[in-house]
């Protein structure tokens, strides 16, 4: 068995690809600390093993019982690690200040909205997209806010991480160096589907990025496609399972729901039709479904969606009429 | 703290050990030192416990000083001042009790402990008036805070009655206990029941005092001597009960709008008068004074326990550690109030 991590030769054993300007420095410091650690660890363990064999309790052998005193060596092994620790601190500080300093002028500013359990990125031309696209070689600044709980913006390939704290804007920036697709994780525990709150980061060439921006702002023509498009961008996806892409979250699945009777939390039933969907989007707690009494966790979309956008969503949900719902655990 | 006291030896019969000296201590001095040190450490933990809330206070006052100024006008500094005086006096009686226990003056000891207990009850009585008055106005913590609107009707819920139920029941029980003492002609029971009856009665003294002072604040409310319920009902129709709101409103924009559309109005007082601002102040206010009140209650419990021991004639010059340690605790509770009073009531 060849472990998968040996497969990609562009990556080292320890790290994913170095895809930002920070990565080199971080990896250098990591390697430096690693070697310092080995430098200390190996002699410690070697001495431990050597002593426990050489001085082992055996017939005919009696070691000394007196405690050793050697001030010189005690001072040495206090002072030397202090200096080394100081150096590591200094290197870490330098690397950190590099990340904290204002980014070079002319950054690509992107608004990041973290919402359980979705990412949404707003670009300078007003386009919204669930994946992050950035141009290569240009510093990109993330202006991040959370709509609910703590999240954290983490791109391993860029070696950056910054918590997103509700009630304030947090910032981070990076300058990608290599075109490609990278993982973006939420790294601050945020509830049920924390582990699916991922996105891809596409580092594109300048032209590709421009093309993306132009396309991202257009809503698809086809009504069902447009519904799906909205589903992915308006944070429906975080809670409602649909098709095969959704996360099986706290909300009811869209699959196979259309036209069926819906048992209500307060008792009684209602038909899953246009009226029910549009009411549930605008006022989620009005007819909470049985088993989903916590419908207040869903925000009202009143004023956020236009009439035709709701129609598109209805069309999308309708298209999933015969899809199989996920097996509920 | 009860633990400062040594348990009586149960299984081991060291004849050198008198009953008040625990078997694992060598002598009275060691036992006393251990108890004292334990109590000091406990006080350190108490200070740290409160320090968390003081930090929260500092953080939010630093962030929104105007909120604290606005809200502190809702606190009646007369009531706060009276309570400060009452607690300071109780510190005196507590210190006196320690002295009496060393001198084995049982009568003075029980009297002083009873006086301390009474002061604590007065404090709580005044506090009950303060709390119930605020609740009637809708000054609740955090998300329950109701934006203050001049002239709005106040809640008619008789909060003060609710707060008085437990003390009332206790008063009745203590009186029954006292009668039991008279019937059985037990000196011990009478010694214990006397201070308890007085202390429970003191609570209602505190309530009365609080009502009088609150009424003065209410500008010419002539019903101060009326029953509690009537009183709160009266307040419900007195605009003067929240004069401070009008004082703060520099412009004449009605505050009614604030409650519904806080974002649209940007007068300083209106942005302050909402759940996330004034509500937060009252959260801190209730947390700090509430936790402090629980400490007063705890203190009252251990003082009661001391009274029982004192009535049992247990204290003497070599064994007065428990009184001394409870005294230390009581001084700390006073001490914390001495910080709370200016920080909450005397901001402006």
């Amino acid at each position: 068995m060849i472990p998968a991590f040996f497969a990609d030769i562009n990556e080292s054993f320890w790290f994913p690809k170095q895809a930002s300007t920070f990565a080199k420095d971080v990896d250098f410091l990591y390697d430096a600390i690693l070697w310092i650690s080995i430098f200390f660890f190996v002699p410690i363990v070697a001495a431990m093993i050597y002593f426990s064999i050489k001085y082992r309790d055996r017939p005919g052998y009696k070691g000394s019982t007196e405690a050793i005193h050697n001030t010189t060596i005690e001072i040495l092994w206090s002072v030397i690690p202090t200096f080394i620790a100081g150096w590591i601190f200094w290197m870490g500080l330098v690397g950190y200040l590099d990340m904290q300093r204002p980014p070079p002028a002319g950054t690509e500013d992107i608004k990041v909205i973290a919402k359980r359990w979705n990412w949404n990125f707003k670009y300078k031309n007003g386009a919204e997209h669930p994946e992050l696209h950035v141009p290569v070689g240009k510093a990109a600044k993330m202006i991040m806010r959370s709509d609910d709980v703590l999240h954290s913006f983490y791109v391993p390939a860029f070696r950056i991480k910054r918590d997103i704290v509700p009630g304030r804007y947090n910032y981070t920036w990076f300058q990608p160096t290599i075109e490609g697709t990278y993982d973006l994780f939420c790294s601050e525990y945020c509830g049920d589907n924390h582990s699916t709150m991922n996105a891809k980061v596409f580092v594109d060439s300048e032209e590709k990025y421009a093309k993306f921006l132009a396309e991202a702002i257009k809503e698809p023509e086809d009504l069902v496609e447009r519904g799906k498009w909205l589903y992915e961008r308006k944070a429906c996806k975080g809670c409602h399972y649909a098709g095969k892409d959704g996360a099986q979250g706290p909300g009811p699945s869209y699959n196979g729901s259309w036209g069926k009777p819906v048992p209500l939390a307060v008792g009684g039933e209602v038909q899953f039709d246009e009226n029910y969907v549009s009411e549930s989007i605008l006022n989620p707690i009005a007819k909470a479904r049985k088993g989903y009494e916590n419908a207040s966790a869903m925000p009202s979309y009143k004023g956020q969606l236009k009439e035709e956008q709701i129609e598109a969503l209805i069309a999308f949900i309708k298209s999933l009429e015969s899809a199989t719902p996920p097996t509920k655990k | 703290m009860t633990t400062a006291v040594a348990p009586a030896p149960t299984e081991h019969d060291h004849h050198e050990h008198p009953s008040w000296l625990a078997h694992h201590f060598d002598d009275a001095e060691q036992q006393f030192d251990a108890g004292k040190m334990g109590m000091w450490l406990f006080l350190v933990t108490e200070v740290l416990f409160f320090s968390g809330m003081f930090c929260a206070y500092a953080l939010y006052r630093n962030r929104n000083p105007e909120v604290f100024e606005f809200c502190s006008t809702f606190l009646n500094e007369k009531l706060g001042a009276i309570n400060t005086g009452v607690l300071l006096f109780s510190s005196l009686t507590m210190a006196w009790a320690v002295r009496a226990s060393q001198l084995k003056e049982t009568k003075t000891l029980i009297g002083m402990l009873g006086a301390t207990l009474g002061c604590a009850a007065i404090f709580l009585g005044v506090k009950a008036v303060e709390y119930s008055h605020k609740w009637a106005l809708g000054l609740f913590p955090g998300k329950f805070y109701i934006s203050q609107v001049a002239g709005a009707p106040h809640s008619e819920v008789p909060y003060l009655w609710y707060l008085s139920i437990a003390p009332l029941v206790m008063l009745v029980c203590f009186i029954l206990y006292y009668i039991y003492g008279i019937v059985t002609a037990s000196k011990f029971h009478l010694r214990v029941a006397g201070p308890l009856v007085i202390a429970a009665a003191c609570f209602f003294g505190g309530v009365g005092l609080g009502l009088v002072l609150e009424a003065e604040e209410g500008h010419g409310d002539t019903h101060a001597s009326a029953s509690h319920q009537e009183h709160s009902a009266d307040h419900a129709h007195t605009d003067a009960a929240i004069p401070t709101v009008n004082l703060l409103s520099t412009d004449t924009a009605p505050l009614n709008d604030v409650a519904t559309t806080p974002a649209e109005s940007n007068t300083p007082d209106s942005s302050v008068n909402q759940k996330g601002m004034a509500g937060l102040f009252f959260s801190i206010y209730y947390c700090m004074t509430g936790v402090h009140a629980f400490h007063i209650l705890g203190g009252m419990l251990v003082i009661t326990w001391l009274i029982v021991k004192a009535a049992n004639l247990e204290f003497h010059s070599k064994y007065y550690g428990p009184v001394d340690n409870v005294g230390l605790y009581w001084h700390l509770v006073d001490f914390i109030w001495i910080f709370l009073f200016p920080l909450l009531y005397l901001i402006t």
């Binding site: 590099d98 950056i160 009630g167 304030r168 993982d183 | 299984e11 060598d26 933990t45």
Partner: protein, 559 residues
């Protein structure tokens, strides 16, 4: 301090235990245990309960690892749903931290040993001690409730605002933590007072065994840090019940303030966990090398230094939270200062073996395993203390591996070493040494197999608390799961070895290992009152006059 003058004939030093009254047989019946004021019985009750909690936490850990055998990219095919997985790791963390590690060494072993090592009859406040135990039980019940109610899913850190919104029984859990906190505070308070006021004549500060220094430093942290956790938990409960809004961004509160409050306790709590373990290792290394400890004062002072510095570094849990740069940098610098005393201790332990007579028995093998694992745990802390690398490693499996190396490889392994070391003293029974060594070996290999791959997972970017993962991480996760099963097996062998000894073990001599501290001078198990007269106190690490007596299979002190 006057000594009770009661003529006592000291039994011959090499007398086999059993012919005299001991604390186990002193009285019988359920109430004689439930209401006991004897620190040894209380210690034993703690030990039982703490081990039960450990078993519970361990099973939860295995469930986590088994769930992660597959990447679970399709959550419908996973062993547990995401929600249940979150509940499992939350309870694993909470049970292990609050019910097991924090009370394990101080409350269980510390309670048993502290008065005996000190040469006193009991702790200063025996009733408070029993009270602490019942507070622990009450706290544990709260936890069990939150487990069987709707399932707590906030993570053991209770970060706001998620803990405000979570559907789980957060109030019950916070009350549990609150109550357990007071259990811990009272234990610490008791120990400080005992050590300060109840040392017998001759027991000066620098004749105290290092284990007591460690317990003393721990107690300082328990008393100074835990109250802040108490108030934090109270405010969190108030947040949920009253909506006070202090930690809730929706109410203008500050979620990061909660993190400061929480870590102000919980970072020092890390030292509550590790300091007593270091104390145990100091004892074990010296006794089983039959040699005075190197740098006694250095180790004693470094315990206190760690306790004090430990209060100043809590911010390093929040480097990525967007604190002010200056704050972040200062916390990083302070973090590095804590690493030095720990490093010094490791050197001193190794140096103690030099030219000694090393007995490679179960406790010593555990101690050596501790040094190996703790050194890795400590060194990997450097990666996290350095700011730029922490930006990458924070909240990944690297952190998970790091603190398991310290908490489990450190504290748990030391706890097991200490348990084997003092087991003959506590129970009067010798265990099978070979089986003990086998258990240590399996635990050691299993542990490394579990957590070494997690370092790599972390550097490669696998975030923690994930119920599913990308396919590229599968091999490392599987290695880790195999290791976890092995680790569980090793712990089971250790448990069986100890249980076996209870029924089939030979009678333990007074001093089976050749220790010079006071607990080895009373019989095994010790009598109810520990010492009928104040014992003569000597250097706790003077092994020059301790000789082996093959007749009893134990050591005695030459007069």
């Amino acid at each position: 301090m006057s000594v009770v003058t009661k003529p006592v004939t000291m039994p011959a030093p090499n007398l086999v235990a059993g012919e005299e009254d001991n604390y186990l047989t002193h009285s019988s019946g359920f109430l004689s245990w439930a209401l006991t004021l004897d620190h040894k019985r209380i210690g034993l009750m703690y030990l039982t309960c703490v081990m039960a909690s450990f078993a519970l936490g361990g099973i939860l850990a295995l469930l986590v690892r088994i769930h992660l055998w597959n990447p679970n990219l399709d959550p419908t095919q996973a062993l547990f749903s995401n929600k249940v997985y979150n509940q499992i790791f939350t309870l694993h963390g909470a049970v292990m931290v609050f019910l097991f590690i924090i009370p394990s060494i101080p409350a269980a072993l510390g309670n048993f040993l502290l008065p005996i090592m000190l040469g006193s009859k009991d702790v200063a406040f025996p009733r408070l001690n029993l009270g602490s135990f019942y507070l622990w039980v009450a706290g544990a019940l709260f936890f069990l409730f939150s487990m069987f109610a709707t399932g707590l899913d906030t993570g053991w850190t209770f970060y706001t605002p998620y803990s405000i919104e979570s559907q789980g029984p957060v109030v019950a859990a916070t009350m549990g933590v609150f109550v357990l906190g007071f259990s811990s505070i009272f234990t610490g308070l008791n120990f400080i007072v005992t050590i300060n006021t109840m040392r017998p004549p001759g027991m000066t500060w620098f004749r105290m065994p290092l284990f007591l220094w460690a317990i003393y430093s721990t107690a300082i942290i328990q008393v100074l840090a835990t109250p802040v956790l108490g108030i934090t938990m109270l405010l969190l409960a108030a947040e949920r019940i009253l909506g006070i809004g202090i930690f809730d961004a929706k109410m203008n509160g500050d979620p990061v303030a909660f993190q400061h409050f929480f870590w102000f306790y919980s970072h020092p709590a890390v030292y509550i966990m590790i300091l007593p373990a270091m104390g145990i290792i100091s004892e074990l290394m010296s006794v089983h090398s039959h040699k005075g400890i190197l740098g006694y004062r250095m180790i004693a002072y470094s315990s206190i230094a760690i306790a004090l510095f430990g209060f100043l570094v809590w911010g390093h849990h929040m480097f990525t939270s967007g604190m002010a740069d200056v704050t972040t940098i200062v916390f990083s610098a302070l973090t590095f200062t804590v690493s030095i005393p720990s490093a010094i201790k490791v050197f001193n332990w190794i140096g103690t073996m030099y030219q000694g007579t090393v007995s490679l028995n179960t406790p010593m093998v555990y101690a050596l395993a501790f040094i190996f694992l703790f050194t890795i745990g400590g060194l990997t802390g450097l990666f996290l203390g350095a700011l730029s690398t922490d930006m990458h490693l924070h909240a990944t499996y690297f952190v998970v591996a790091h603190f398991h190396y310290v908490m489990m490889g450190g504290t748990l392994v030391a706890f097991l070493g200490g348990l084997f070391h003092w087991w003959p003293k506590m129970t009067g029974k010798m265990f099978n040494d070979f089986a003990g060594i086998v258990s240590a070996a399996i635990v050691f290999v299993g542990f490394n197999l579990t957590f070494l791959p997690q370092f790599v997972l972390g550097t490669r970017g696998m975030p923690r608390r994930y119920a599913s993962y990308a396919l590229e991480f599968q091999d490392l996760h599987r290695l880790s799961t195999i290791g976890a099963v092995m680790l569980g097996t090793g712990l089971l062998v250790a448990a069986l070895t100890l249980l076996h000894s209870l029924f089939y073990g030979s009678k333990a001599p007074r001093n089976p290992w050749g220790g010079a501290t006071l607990e080895w001078e009373c019989s095994s198990p010790p009598p109810h009152d520990n010492f009928s007269s104040a014992p003569t106190v000597g250097d706790p690490y003077d092994f020059s006059n301790i000789e082996y007596d093959p007749k009893v299979g134990g050591y005695f002190k030459k007069k």
